[in-house]
């Protein structure tokens, strides 16, 4: 029983991490129709920032806002050039551009931070384990579950319940009409990309305590986040939450039951899911013209 609870919590903490990363990718993909394969680089940069911030002795909780701001800044610079010119290009060109950038960033980070696995030294209050029915469980993962779903909630309020969120959604639905209302939609879209990059960074900072930081992690996280977004369905917040849970649980439990071929089983399950529901778990309502 205790073992099952621990595995469920493991899956939940992984889902929380996936959710944050996938939301960053999803807002850009569904709102701007832009595939950003460099999102994994934002994640890994955030992880490295957290590792070095925890080691520096500065107040530990500042690591997360710092990671957010640093990657948001990187996102803002990239948005200026070259992303902005590619919003209207084909998916193929977007994929090639951002894949190339992610390879460049991966190599720069390997150059700067080394090729070894860096595990952060966790701050005092997050170290250690708690006992659930006599089974040990890391405190940090509980923190991850809490913060992950809390941040996702904030994002939902921001996009779904504020005026700014309404402007973003309106810019997607009918850009010309929003422009005639006197709103600079180009700036709105830049803000979305910056927010997405920052989300990537903060999820990296959170994930460092669970997955550490090493070259190649950017790609692993990117693939899982992409799968999460697509399985959930484009443009639905509920869908992404649901599919983060599905992917998190599928990966965690296939690692428990089929340690050697865990990813084969999990990926196959997701491919089947995509076949059964090609538009995602929660299909967006399409306006029929």
């Amino acid at each position: 029983m205790g073992y099952a609870i621990v595995q469920v919590l493991n899956a939940l903490s992984f889902s929380a991490l996936l959710l944050l990363t996938a939301l960053g990718l999803s807002v850009v993909l569904s709102l701007m129709n832009f595939i950003n394969l460099a999102h994994g680089s934002f994640y890994l940069l955030g992880s490295y920032i957290a590792v070095f911030w925890f080691a520096s002795g500065a107040p530990w909780w500042l690591a997360f806002p710092v990671a957010f701001l640093a990657t948001a800044l990187a996102g803002a610079l990239l948005e200026r050039f070259p992303f902005r010119g590619f919003y209207a290009r084909t998916h193929l060109m977007q994929v090639l551009l951002t894949y190339g950038l992610s390879v460049v960033f991966a190599d720069l980070m390997r150059w700067g931070f080394g090729a070894q696995i860096l595990s952060p030294e966790l701050p005092e209050p997050l170290q250690g384990v708690v006992f659930l029915l006599d089974m040990p469980f890391p405190v940090y993962r509980l923190f991850l579950i809490g913060v992950g779903f809390f941040l996702a909630g904030i994002l939902w309020v921001l996009l779904d319940r504020t005026l700014w969120g309404a402007v973003v959604r309106a810019s997607v639905a009918d850009r010309g009409m929003v422009e005639t209302l006197g709103i600079d939609t180009r700036r709105v879209l830049s803000a979305v990309l910056v927010l997405s990059a920052g989300l990537g960074g903060v999820s990296g900072a959170l994930g460092a305590g669970m997955l550490a930081a090493y070259p190649g992690l950017d790609e692993e996280v990117l693939i899982l986040a992409l799968v999460t977004v697509v399985v959930g369905g484009l443009g639905t917040f509920r869908g992404t939450v649901l599919s983060a849970l599905v992917v998190g649980f599928a990966l965690t439990f296939s690692k428990v039951w089929f340690p050697e071929f865990a990813n084969v089983v999990a990926f196959s399950a997701m491919a089947v899911l995509l076949l059964l529901r090609p538009a995602g778990l929660v299909a967006p309502r399409l306006r029929q013209v």
Binding site: Y99, L108, L234, E260, N263
Partner: protein, 308 residues
């Protein structure tokens, strides 16, 4: 004609190292050209093409280890494996498009990679397979560079001819139609899933034939040949050469592999440059070298016509 002349000149003049390198270019180029059938003519951007190529390469290598390197047998194994994986992938992707197609092919490709990477008893896992027997054709043993290069050249020409006749055949025309006007094509009674599935089979068979020869160039095959990184690399080779031009695929793979080989000889940071190649290509050369050359040719022709 030019291609045949170039191939025979290279066979006579180039040294051992360069012949193997050219053979690799021709083999990868053949696989890239089969991808062009999907991307350039069907509008189906696949991020899993390396899985077809790599699975065939592994099948050929394993078959050669156990049953010897008879050329026709090895080619048959590769083609069968490439077509089989393509059939699987085709069955899955025929009804999807754009983004979902991209993710599904990526997922399926990574499933193949995971199997290759973890099935150590057969595939050697991360180490790959070494110590393969050389290819043989009747009494001849094709182990030195020159026959291997000629073999790769023959394969490339045969594949190019096959791809050209596929595109000119009714099926190829229907494929282009399904890319341009899917609704109109369905209304005319064409089954778009069927067209796409058959195209996948042809592309898989060509990629499989190329994959079958690949392990024998360097007598080694590793899991990198199945990874989606190679799929992305194949797409960039295609874009460098020019999407939809078929022969441009060989140009693209030659340019890419040459840059990669010479840069990695000079610096450890060659991956940085590989990434830059991607970025610069889409920024400066989105139509590829073949498109640029064709524009140049038509401009010269026009100038000559004005002078006359």
């Amino acid at each position: 004609m030019v291609a045949v002349a170039g191939l025979s000149a290279a066979a006579l003049l180039a040294g051992e190292f360069h012949l193997r390198f050219l053979a690799e270019i021709l083999i990868i180029g053949t696989a890239v050209m089969s991808l062009d059938l999907l991307v350039g003519f069907g509008g189906l951007v696949s991020l899993g093409h390396a899985a077809l190529f790599g699975a065939a390469a592994y099948a050929a290598a394993v078959a050669a280890q156990h049953l010897g390197g008879n050329l026709l047998f090895i080619l048959g194994t590769g083609i069968a494996m490439g077509a089989a994986v393509a059939a699987l992938m085709g069955a899955v992707i025929v009804r999807t498009s754009s983004l979902f197609l991209l993710i599904l092919t990526l997922l399926l490709g990574q499933i193949v990679w995971e199997i290759v990477f973890h099935w150590r008893d057969v595939t050697g896992g991360a180490d790959g397979l070494r110590g393969l027997p050389p290819l043989s054709f009747g009494p001849w043993v094709l182990s030195s560079a020159r026959p291997l290069f000629l073999l790769a050249g023959l394969l490339a020409l045969a594949a190019l001819w096959l791809a050209h006749s596929f595109v000119d055949a009714p099926l190829g025309r229907a494929l282009i139609g399904s890319r341009e006007q899917p609704i109109r094509m369905s209304a005319l009674g064409y089954s778009i899933p069927r067209i796409r599935f058959l195209t996948m089979l042809v592309a898989g068979a060509i990629a499989g034939a190329a994959g079958a020869l690949y392990p024998f160039v360097n007598l080694y095959i590793g899991p990198q040949s199945v990874h989606w990184t190679l799929s992305a690399t194949m797409i960039i080779m295609l874009v460098i050469g020019g999407v939809g031009s078929l022969w441009g695929a060989f140009l693209g793979s030659a340019v890419y592999l040459a840059i990669q080989t010479y840069i990695s000889a000079y610096t450890d940071r060659w991956q940085l440059f590989v990434g830059l190649i991607f970025v610069l290509t889409v920024l400066l050369l989105p139509n590829g070298l073949a498109g640029g050359l064709r524009r140049l040719a038509s401009r010269m022709r026009r100038r000559r016509a004005q002078q006359a």
